[in-house]
């Protein structure tokens, strides 16, 4: 039971970072601009930092399904989310809300910073630590077939979330268009 849940959560983290890393690679300019908009790093460090975060995310998403949530993965996931959360918090305290969070992939929301992002990232950090603890508790190894089923379940869950986000986006645009049509 614990092993299955831990594997499912690890897969969800892996897929989350697949989508964010893919978005960073395919829209590099947009993400570099996002880092610049946070106004926390000197100009010369923006591109190296962008490369570091992207490689960090790729490393996590590729190794998580194979190795599971090891202590190193827990540190990597919490560290990455911690850095993002700190950057968002500092900008919220400064009153800079009109910038994109730059989260990318399925984590990208509307184009404004809000405290909900801090809450979401904090919950993700808690989830990462819980996954690690669940994995420690699990005594039996999962059979391959169960891993396949859990992997597919996590893909389905991520797809549900992505479709929900897109439908929300369509709904917001439709209501704006409807306002203009009346």
């Amino acid at each position: 039971m614990f092993a299955g849940l831990a594997f499912l959560l690890s897969m969800l983290f892996s897929l989350m970072f697949v989508s964010t890393a893919w978005d960073k690679v395919s829209h590099a300019d947009k993400h570099i601009q996002s880092i610049r908009a946070y106004q926390l790093t000197p100009e010369g460090l923006i591109r190296p930092l962008f490369a570091l975060f992207t490689v960090w995310e790729i490393g996590v998403c590729l190794s998580l399904p194979v190795l599971g949530m090891t202590p190193y993965h827990t540190l990597a996931v919490c560290g990455l989310l911690g850095i993002y959360t700190m950057a968002i918090t500092i900008n919220l305290i400064r009153g800079h809300r009109d910038i994109s969070c730059g989260c990318g992939g399925i984590m990208e929301g509307n184009n404004r910073l809000h405290w909900g992002l801090v809450l979401r990232n904090t919950l993700l950090i808690v989830a990462a630590i819980s996954t690690y603890l669940l994995q420690l508790e699990s005594v039996t190894a999962l059979p391959l077939l169960s891993k396949v089923m859990l992997g597919l379940t996590s893909v389905a869950l991520v797809m549900v979330y992505a479709a929900y986000q897109k439908i929300n986006e369509v709904q917001a645009r439709m209501s704006r268009l409807r306002k203009w049509m009346v």
């Binding site: 106004q39 077939l145 089923m149 389905a156 797809m159 439908i167 645009r173 268009l177």
Partner: protein
């Protein structure tokens, strides 16, 4: 046997979800491209509506923050383009506008690739100049020159698509009164 059925069911679910996602994405892209309905420009701001804030860097790396500007004075946003002759005919009037009205003036060039020397040569001192297609897009400006007057609460006080300098003066006189 049971596991195989579960795996097949999950694959079908993923396929269906992928279709829903692609359909939603397609509709989102389509609605984002709609710029007008029955001749009405969609997405423009109404008078009194709070306009989106922006922070941009000028070509000489000065930070321009809309919030900081309108907290001290009203702001005139003037949208132009490097290749727009009407814009070039209006820009010489900006120095008189600054002299007569207590305003911050931000000139936003929607072109960030072409040669803008003809525009920069006409800019008086004291104006903020940005090259930002994204700000233009955020403000739903599709035709230049276009002027927007932002009050000290960050709300749109008035806006007009300009044909000449008289249009700009008319907008300012209407909102701020005549200054001798």
């Amino acid at each position: 046997m049971m596991e195989t059925i579960v795996i097949i069911t999950l694959l079908i679910c993923i396929g269906q979800l992928a279709l829903i996602y692609m359909l939603a994405r397609y509709v989102a892209q389509f609605t984002a491209e709609i710029r007008g309905i029955k001749g009405i420009q969609v997405g423009g701001f109404e008078i009194g509506e709070i306009v989106p804030l922006f922070r941009e860097m000028t070509p000489d790396k000065q930070k321009v923050t809309l919030r900081e500007l309108f907290q001290t004075k009203k702001v005139l946003l003037m949208f132009v383009n490097s290749s727009c002759p009407t814009c070039k005919s209006i820009l010489p009037s900006i120095s008189q506008v600054i002299a007569q009205y207590n305003l911050h003036v931000v000139i936003i060039n929607g072109d960030n690739a072409g040669d803008d020397s003809a525009i920069t040569a006409l800019l008086p001192s004291g104006v903020h100049y940005l090259r930002s297609p994204s700000v233009m897009e955020t403000y739903f400006v599709t035709k230049v020159p276009h002027a927007m007057l932002i009050d000290q609460e960050g709300k749109l006080e008035n806006q007009a698509s300009l044909k000449d300098a008289n249009g700009l003066w008319a907008l300012l006189v209407q909102e701020l009164g005549k200054v001798s």
